[in-house]
Amino acid sequence: MNPRLKSILAKTAVAAVVYVGVLLLVQVGIIDAYLQATMVTICVNIILAVSLNLVTGFTGQFSLGHAGFMAIGAYSTALITMSMPTVLGFILGLLVGAILAALVGFLIGLPTLRLRGDYLAIATLGMAEIIRVLLLNFEFSNGAAGLSGIPQFVNWNWLFVLTAGTIVLISNFLNSRHGRDCIAVREDEIAAESIGVRSTQAKTLAFSVGAFFGAIAGGVYASYFYFIKPDLFGFMQSINILVIVVLGGLGSISGSIIAAILLAVVSTLLQPFPEIRMILYSLVLVVLMVFRPQGIMGSRELSLSLFSKLLPGRRQTRTKVTAEDAA
């Protein structure tokens, strides 16, 4: 069968195994409430990292404001589910948050995406800070006290569907014409323009899509942890997401997934050492950038060809074209 179909089937198989596997572990009780919380954190981080990777890794637009979109999603989901505590409300909340975030991304993106790397970083940072300060001051978001008692809808099913869905959708986006436009913009914007790629459109589209999924992550967070407040979505959160992306490799979806899991594990393991946790974290960051700035996966993806190289016996025989055949 053709390799693309094989690849899709293999990925589906992996996904199914993960889904069933975790479900079983939850039922049996090996994954208790505490581990579940860690899993939710991992999945939220995966969604955040993959969506940021789209903007920063694949389109080359350095965004330090991703937490702002997460905030929009979190607050929308929270407010809507609090007045409509049903599954329908939850879905509505997620969608409203995501669309709102995409809109904000589009509006902010259009003027600011003209800026070069560093300036864009600061502008996006400023955007996230503005969102945070506004949330701190509005009545409906309850200001600094935040929103509590958010109905909990997220369970493993939702978590899996949303996380896997994000990965699939963003991967497909990247494999499409739009995705290739984004990569072209990243490589050399001026050259891309000269061959007909509408760079502003590509960048804004990537930014909005990234915002969309960033908000979904925020909604998942809100609907599991019962409580959100504006300070959760500040500069540090944006940095955290960026670290995951860079650690995994800018331009590698599987890298982001691996890094998200890895960092969550490390964070949990370092729980008993609160003071040095952050020191180690920042040290790792500096060391990583000095010695291996491309991260774990660079811009490669974890793919089946890697596996087939590990499996013994199956080797593709090369057909030799000899002079006799040509004759």
Binding site: T56, F62, I108, P111, T112, R114, L115, R116, G117, D118, Y119, A121, I122, A123, L125, G126, M127, E129, I130, V133, L134, L136, N137, I190, F235, I239, L242, V243, V246, L250, E275, I276, M278, I279, Y281, S282, L283, L285, V286, L288, M289, V290, P293
Partner: protein, 294 residues
């Protein structure tokens, strides 16, 4: 009217602090195109060194100021050599993230050693706490000192940049690194010198803030650092007069917003101002538009 004058005094004081920090940002950006996120934390270290000098070594204010400046100079150069130099030919993102990493490292290492609490500077000797009254307007000696010291330091900086060989080297490397190297300028040393200067100013700002607000804590550098960067961009990044102008504009804006009762939206307004400037005049108030050539 007197309220207004008082607010002007407030704005000048805070503007001077932002200007001092912004100078460091703008010089470093001018020479290696790096937003040195760790700059705000160098300022924080300066504040703590000043605190230590005054509390534990019993030194007076001016000596502590010099000690802090010296310490920060060393710190700045070390950071440059260890973290930024190896990445001089890497992507912008890599360097930026390194800067963020260094920033976090400074913050949390400091927190590990001195604890997260806010500490207060020891009380200053008599003449420092003097206040001047002009009708209803109150100006403290400290405010006068802050503005004066800032302006003096900025004049010294201008002198160094315009009148000394090192300053000339700095300007040359900013314009064209390779050509400068071909002319025999040691690029590495010049860059280190730039960091040294900027960090010294940040250290001075740290001590001034510590004395003025009487409060230091390990995370105190984050927001002022960001706002100072906004100031540098606002005035025209890479231009020293720009940093000065930007600092005072930001100081005035913040004070104005607070004075009309929207104090809590202060930070948002500063960032909104940044975005507006970036959209309409990205080279800043004093900058010239340079089109990117292929």
């Amino acid at each position: 009217m007197e309220q207004f004058l008082q607010q002007v005094v407030n704005g000048l004081s805070i503007g001077s602090i932002y200007a001092l920090i912004a100078l460091g940002y703008t010089m470093v950006y001018g020479i290696i195109q790096l937003i040195n996120f760790a700059h705000g934390d160098v300022y924080m270290v300066g504040a703590y060194v000043g605190y230590a000098s005054m509390s534990f070594l019993g030194l007076d204010f001016f000596t502590s100021l010099l000690v802090a400046m010296a310490a920060c100079t060393v710190l700045g150069v070390i950071i440059e050599r260890v973290a930024y130099k190896p990445l001089r030919n890497s992507t912008r993102i890599a360097v930026l993230i390194t800067a963020i990493g260094v920033s976090l490292l400074l913050e949390y290492t400091m927190m590990y050693f001195v604890g997260p609490e806010h500490r207060a500077y020891p009380a200053l000797p008599g003449f420092m706490s003097h206040t001047f009254h002009f009708g209803e307007v109150v100006i403290t000696m400290l405010q006068i000192m802050i503005v004066t010291i800032s302006i003096v330091l900025m004049i010294v900086l201008q002198f160094i940049v315009r009148r000394t060989r090192l300053g000339k080297a700095m300007r040359a490397v900013s314009q064209d690194r390779d050509a400068a190297q071909l002319m025999g300028i040691s690029v590495d040393n010049t860059i280190s010198f730039t960091f040294a200067l900027g960090s010294a100013l940040a250290g001075a700002a740290g001590v001034l803030v510590g004395v003025y607000y009487n409060s230091v804590n390990p995370l105190m550098g984050i927001l002022p650092g960001l706002k100072a960067f906004v100031a540098a961009v606002l005035g025209g990044i890479g231009l020293i007069p720009g940093a000065l102008l930007g600092g005072y504009v930001i100081g005035a804006t913040e004070t104005f917003v607070a004075s009309i009762g929207f104090s809590m939206l202060r930070d948002a307004v500063v960032f909104a101002l940044l975005i507006i400037v970036l959209i309409f005049k990205p080279s800043g108030l004093l900058g010239k538009n340079v089109r990117e050539k292929v």
